[in-house]
Symmetry: C2
Subunit: 92 residues, 2 copies
DNA sequence: GGATCCAATACCCTTTCGGTATCAGGCCGC
DNA sequence: GCGGCCTGATACCGAAAGGGTATTGGATCC
């Protein structure tokens, strides 16, 4: 599992479509599709239901979504904690 | 920044030596050394002071360490949240 | 000053990741 | 029902990343 994978998942969950999420992420659809599938594989549980209209979050997906957002938020916080400081001091 | 990089950083911070951390992580020393360096590069701040005795955490490194642990904890929680359920409890 | 620890670098190879082209299947209009 | 049109999935290929071995550079300790 990678951070990119988590970001991809969130985008797909929010868009409801792999193709639209791909556009938003500036990647093409196939890698995104594969990434989601391999994430489900690693977690051992399907996160989406594939419908002819797009991707529909399953309960497990909903659970993972909140975790995913928290993880990405933490990463963001970590970066912010160091970026503003000119690396001179950080007692945080 | 990748999750592996974050795990590497935590190991080095805890061991105080790249070589020892490498042993613990079951990777060799050079990739680990590079990974830490590229992390510092990306964050725009040195996290360690290189001494002839090993790696010593700088204040920025200490700050990042707590964030790193939280991130890894969240990832762990996300995995645990899905693993126990064998993905069959969704209908009722 | 030579031996000894340490991380950093050079170089190579394997694996991963992203892109293009194409397929497969459900839906809708006709 | 058949053809076009959505959707995601697969095949294949090339570029990039990541890890390994061998080696270097630098500081300490005797």
């Amino acid at each position: 599992m990678s951070l990119a994978q988590i970001r991809y998942f969130v985008a797909v969950a929010e868009e409801g479509h792999v193709g639209r999420a791909a556009e938003r992420l500036h990647v093409s659809q196939p890698p995104l599709s594969r990434s989601i599938r391999s994430l489900e594989d690693e977690l051992g549980a399907p996160l989406f239901e594939r419908t002819p209209r797009g991707m529909r979050l399953l309960p497990a997906g909903l659970t993972f979504l909140s975790h995913a957002r928290r993880i990405l938020g933490e990463v963001d916080a970590a970066v912010l904690a160091l970026s503003p400081n000119d690396r001179r001091q950080a007692s945080s």
